[in-house]
């Protein structure tokens, strides 16, 4: 198997007029080849930031201030912009964006955009490029005539598929999917998820699947990373998180509780009271402690480290360490 991606102590801060907002604050994890790592959390917890950080494209005014991203053995943060653009982005890591509504340039045809990206990275003549494009269009289940169209002439699902095709056709090692199905209806959602799974099998890709939808996550992820307020709360396998056995982080438990189940009827959905903390001045100690149902005194004082409590399962929670 082997690790295809290793992130160590990554910090990404947004330098606003009021000070640095700690979008991603000292995060470390790894991705194994051929697996899907799901990243979950509330809105604003830093998942998308993480995604852009991995491409070294923080949205201004963000800046990566520390840590390393080791991809296929080398730290991509050491490279300059040109090298990253030519060698890393889309070559080694690509991204399927959130809100495909607006991810394609409206004034170019699909074909032009795909061709442009392809020819930028590969020395290909039009015939060869066209062939590959058509291959991947077919992969995602679309017919050739979408190529002549403009983005606004296509439905959401079609656009999403194109975005996926574009993300894949350079055959990168890691594909980051940032909420790829959130804006789509359920039927299409299912189609896309199946597609992703299929492609992962066929092409041997490794995914990082970012979403706030736990149900989807359960479907696709091999391992899950739970983020809260810019920090990792918990990393574990699908079984460990969703299995409802053993110890899980109170936040994760809260998330699961808040998810409606298909077969259970509940009188009231649990929800986690309060709002995500201000990342400009994060709370002292555990960032979750203000909303935690099982908070201890220690939580408000000292920040819990990410500790492995069983194989492949790490948690950052004082309460969980005790038991």
């Amino acid at each position: 198997m082997g690790r295809i991606l290793e992130v160590n102590n990554l910090k990404l801060y947004y330098y606003t007029a009021r000070g640095p907002v700690r979008g991603v604050d000292d995060i470390s994890f790894h991705l194994n080849k051929g697996e899907t790592l799901g990243v979950v959390g509330e809105s604003g917890c830093g998942k998308t930031t993480l995604g852009t950080a991995l491409l070294n494209m923080p949205s201004p005014p963000g800046r990566i201030v520390g840590g390393e991203i080791v991809l296929a053995g080398s730290d991509i943060l050491q490279l300059n912009e040109k090298q990253i653009r030519q060698q890393i982005r889309w070559e080694k890591i690509s991204m399927v964006f959130q809100g495909a509504m607006n991810c394609l340039t409206p004034v170019y045809t699909i074909e032009k955009q795909m061709l442009e990206t392809l020819q930028e990275h590969r020395e290909m003549d039009e015939a060869a490029a066209g062939e590959r494009i058509r291959k991947y269009i077919a992969y995602v289940g679309l017919s050739d005539d979408v190529l002549r169209r403009y983005p606004h002439e296509l439905s959401g699902g079609m656009k999403q598929r194109i975005v996926i095709a574009t993300a894949l056709f350079l055959e990168p090692e890691v594909v980051i999917c940032d909420e790829p199905t959130t804006a789509l209806d359920v039927v299409v959602q299912a189609q896309i998820i199946n597609l992703l799974k299929e492609l992962k099998e066929q092409l041997g890709l490794s995914f990082i699947f970012i979403t706030h939808d736990l149900a989807t996550e359960a479907e696709v992820a091999d391992r899950i990373l739970v983020m809260y307020a810019g920090k990792i709360a918990e990393i574990g396998t699908n079984q460990q998180i969703y299995g409802q056995e053993g110890q899980i982080h109170p936040y994760t438990r809260g998330l699961l509780g808040a998810t409606p189940r298909l077969r259970e009827k509940v009188a009231k959905l649990d929800f986690i009271p309060g709002t995500p903390p201000n990342l400009l001045h994060p709370p002292a100690g555990c960032r979750f402690h203000l909303r935690c149902p099982v908070v201890m005194e220690r939580c408000s004082v000292e920040e819990p480290p990410l500790k492995e409590i069983e194989a492949e399962h790490k948690i950052a929670c004082w309460r969980c360490f005790d038991e």
Binding site: R85, F97, T166
Partner: protein, 349 residues
């Protein structure tokens, strides 16, 4: 569908043009009439004061005056009834039958209004259209640069320059530049299109002309490049926030392509509008500006024709500029669809 829309739009444009010409004709014939009569009387008075009519009797002089007055009135068509004049003038202008001027002549003494205008347009184009082209290139380039480095030194300093120049009257800046670059440091000529005496040989003349164009074009560019840059900067900045731009960057496209390809193309409609209109308006020249640089173009022609109440020339001048302007509008209307595929041209809203 598109074809039908195009035809409809052009017909609509033609009708609007005709209405505008008709309104001009009415305006000129009304406003100018009383003043024209006074002006002619004044002219008559002046003429007779200069003459030495020693051998004439009183009756002969009165008769001479009446005959001269009659001649002047006939020249200015003051005998036809008002509405006839309005219609006839409008009709002639629309059919490009501009006729003869009453007073104004071309540099070579031609009276044909068409020739007078044909002589003036290239001169204005040399100055204003060239400046417009330079401006367009400049403000696109500047605007994008500013958007790229929004908020930084370059952006802020150019914005300050924009504000300073915005309040400046064009003639003041022109005079200032002439003062410094023509008198204090005699680098450039103080006006006119050619030197005195003008060089012989077409190559030398061209160089002389270019030499004389430098100062006015410089003034025009200094005045007008900033505003456009500022607008473009804002448009581009807005576009740069779009997700698809980030997506394009993420795909590893070089910044040049992202900026000039994806961003600019997306912002094409407003930019194209600015560019096309800027080019077209340049043909009407600038009244005061041309006067300062002794550049006898369309703006100056308009001013002189107005002062001398030369209706045929006024109508011709306005007809040409209105035509250019309207053509520009129609042209833009028809190509918007090409510029931005999201815009459905001709379809129902």
């Amino acid at each position: 569908m598109y074809g039908r829309y195009a035809v409809k739009r052009i017909i609509y444009g033609i009708i609007t043009y005709m209405v505008i010409i008709f309104i001009f004709s009415m305006l000129f014939n009304t406003v100018v009439e009383t003043t024209l009569r006074s002006l002619l009387e004044e002219r008559l008075q002046g003429e007779f004061l200069q003459m030495d009519l020693g051998n004439y009797s009183a009756e002969q002089i009165t008769e001479l005056k009446a005959q001269r007055r009659d001649q002047l009135y006939r020249m200015h068509h003051l005998y036809s009834p008002f509405i006839v004049r309005v219609f006839w003038r409008a009709y002639n202008t629309i059919t490009f039958n501009f006729g003869q001027s009453t007073n104004v002549t071309s540099s070579s003494g031609e009276r044909d209004v068409g020739m007078i205008i044909a002589e003036a347009v290239p001169r204005t184009a040399l100055l204003f259209t060239v400046a417009a082209v330079i401006n367009i290139t400049l403000f696109i380039f500047l605007g994008i640069k500013k958007a790229q480095k929004a908020g930084k030194m370059f952006d802020q300093s150019t914005s300050i320059i924009t504000m300073v120049v915005f309040g400046m009257p064009s003639w003041w800046l022109a005079m200032l530049l002439i003062m410094f670059l023509s008198y204090v440091i005699p680098l450039f000529p103080s006006g006119g299109m050619f030197s005195t005496p003008p060089p012989e040989g077409s190559w030398a003349r061209l160089v002389d002309l270019l030499y004389h164009m430098i100062l006015p074009v410089l003034t025009l560019v200094l005045l007008r490049a900033w505003g456009g840059a500022y607008l473009i900067r804002n448009i581009v900045l807005g576009t740069l926030q779009e997700d698809y731009i980030m997506s394009a960057r993420a795909r590893g496209l070089p910044e040049q392509k992202v900026l000039y390809g994806h961003t600019l193309r997306s912002a094409a409609p407003p930019i194209a509008t600015m560019a096309v209109m800027s080019l077209l308006i340049s043909f009407s020249g600038g009244l005061i500006f041309e006067g300062i640089f002794s550049w006898p173009g369309m703006g100056n022609l308009f001013w002189v024709a107005l002062q001398q109440y030369d209706i045929p020339v006024l109508m011709g001048n306005l007809a040409v500029t209105t035509l250019l302007y309207m053509s520009g509008l129609i042209f833009l209307d028809l190509i918007y669809g090409l510029l931005d595929p999201r815009i459905k041209v001709g379809g129902k809203a």
